[in-house]
Symmetry: C2
Subunit: 336 residues, 2 copies
């Protein structure tokens, strides 16, 4: 195990000098060029890395970033995996450890935000779903000196924490515009809950910008983002008797559920609507026989940005929220 001490002993100087040279923080200290080089060379040879524990202890830090994840995305969408994977890499770059915690319910979330937390971590990233009571708690924490950054799906207009999220409106704007471009004129939409209107706004915006009217009769409520919900919404759509040549679902699982309904009813292949999902999840990629056109959720980017923002907060640099633009991924389900 190489340490400042061992290097110092090898060269024949004090470990203090080694520390100064390696950190290039000489202060008023002088060192001969020869000694300097010897120290640097030896450090390189041993591939010296300062003990992060000692460093953090000295600096009064914990060396740990809390990552509180309230699962998002349809089950099986791998959204959380993408998020964690990316956060993990960024944390590693920052020489920080992650204190990962998963939460199912808001109360668990809130009760984990207590004073003990302050002792464990240097900063907190909250991912998933925003919630008024949680926000209050987090504000408390931050006023006690804990930097907090969120990566939640929320109304971008509400400014509480520095937040990183995908541009939800752009998601369904992209898919809808794509369908219009390939010739769809009656595009159905499955809408999950009025509290989260952004994707529908994208759907409407694309119509508006491209000179089409939004036909509200083509918009159907969906219980949630899973396949069952999509299946049920498609049943409603078909039973309504409306004609449609496209479907903008709010998740890949929904889209798959919808397709499944059509398959089950023996819907003739040539009359299938062009279908798009959201999340670009494995189910979209591997769905057979029709891989799904989808749009990315940008979880990895959000994670990276959130940790980067925390890094800046540590340095007391200003940081700003950001809406990450999604990418359209075209697959067979929308090939004309």
């Amino acid at each position: 195990m190489s340490s400042l001490k061992s290097i110092a002993a090898d060269i024949g100087v004090s470990h203090v000098l080694v520390s100064r040279v390696l950190n290039n923080r000489m202060g008023t200290t002088r060192v001969s060029e020869k000694t300097r080089e010897a120290i640097l060379r030896r450090a390189q040879e041993l591939d010296y890395q300062p003990n992060p524990l000692a460093l953090a202890l000295k600096q009064g830090r914990r060396g740990v970033i809390g990552l509180f994840v309230h699962g998002v995305g349809a089950p099986g969408s791998d959204l959380n995996v993408d998020f964690i994977l990316s956060a993990t890499q960024k944390a590693s770059d920052m020489r920080m450890n992650l204190w990962l915690q998963f939460f199912e319910h808001d109360d668990e979330f809130i009760s984990a935000c207590n004073s003990k937390l302050l002792r464990k971590i240097d900063g907190l990233i909250v991912a998933g779903i925003s919630h008024p009571q949680l926000t209050k708690k987090l504000n408390e924490m931050e006023s006690q000196g804990l930097p907090v950054v969120s990566a939640c799906h929320k109304d971008p207009e509400v400014r509480d924490f520095v937040n990183f999220q995908v541009d939800a409106t752009a998601q369904c704007y992209l898919t809808t515009a794509h369908l219009i471009e390939i010739g769809c004129r009656r595009i159905a939409h499955f809408n999950v809950g009025a509290s989260w209107p952004f994707r529908q706004q994208g759907y409407e915006k694309a119509h508006l910008e491209m000179g089409l009217l939004v036909d509200k009769r083509l918009i159907f409520p969906s219980k949630n983002y899973n396949a069952k919900a999509g299946y049920e919404s498609m049943a409603l759509l078909v039973e309504s008797g409306e004609t449609f040549d496209g479907l903008v679902a709010q998740s890949d699982a929904q889209a798959v559920g919808a397709l499944h309904y059509l398959l089950e009813r023996g819907w003739p292949r040539e009359r299938w609507p062009k279908i798009t999902g959201v999340d670009n999840s494995p189910i979209a990629q591997f769905y057979s026989p029709v891989p799904l056109t989808s749009v990315t959720a940008e979880m990895a980017t959000c994670a990276r940005l959130a940790l980067g923002a925390l890094e800046q907060k540590f340095k007391r640099e200003p940081v700003e929220s950001h809406l990450v633009p999604p990418q359209l991924v075209i697959r067979q389900s929308t090939v004309p």
Copy 2:
């Protein structure tokens, strides 16, 4: 921030005495009952927790467990999420941080197992897929004093590391036996690769034990564990002209792909085979209109056991590998 020092100051003793009392390691030191109680009370009031950094530094530990994950399971199966979630909780109980790393390719995996690693972590958990060259590297690491525990899917007979995995044979034994019990007599099987024969062995064992012959003509190769592969295998099965009343797939995604083929061909519902998957993943739970019978992958249990084993290795206690028994989860796809 409470520390030994602050408690000591409050009571009017040395921080050394506080340390001794709180750890109940008095050695030859004596303390009056009154002082003792005062110390304990004050520590409780402040909800004192020793600084893990200082502790680890003192004890020459890193306070970090490496968790190297080579993704397993079909994409979207949430297997990795379950694993990480459980590992996270157990690590937290152990007052250890996790150094999570994900790997796509074996080489990344192997090149991450270098001497730097020894400086970063106190122990290593390797999850995912076993690999001869990796094993060699890990053996090297362990001989250099790094405790290694694996949670890989591998031949249970090969003894290299202490390993925790689900009993793969039991998985398809359970699903097959279930199908036989509900009256299936011609059960097809999708087999992924000869290098991993354990699930098929379960399929065969169930037949044997329940007095049925295995008809090799019902066993079809599948390229991998995703839906596309299941779809293709089902195509082979149907084209073969063999009659079948059940299907034991090797993953939920495969089962879904297979169902999808039948739907697409307009296979009459009353002639649908009873279908089982493996992994008990979201796709099985939420598949519409037929939620899938499946069998658990026990990722959470394996993670917990693996970290527990590492804990025991730290204490130089002996540990043994373990095959975790899976659970059958019956859903609509096998309701008679």
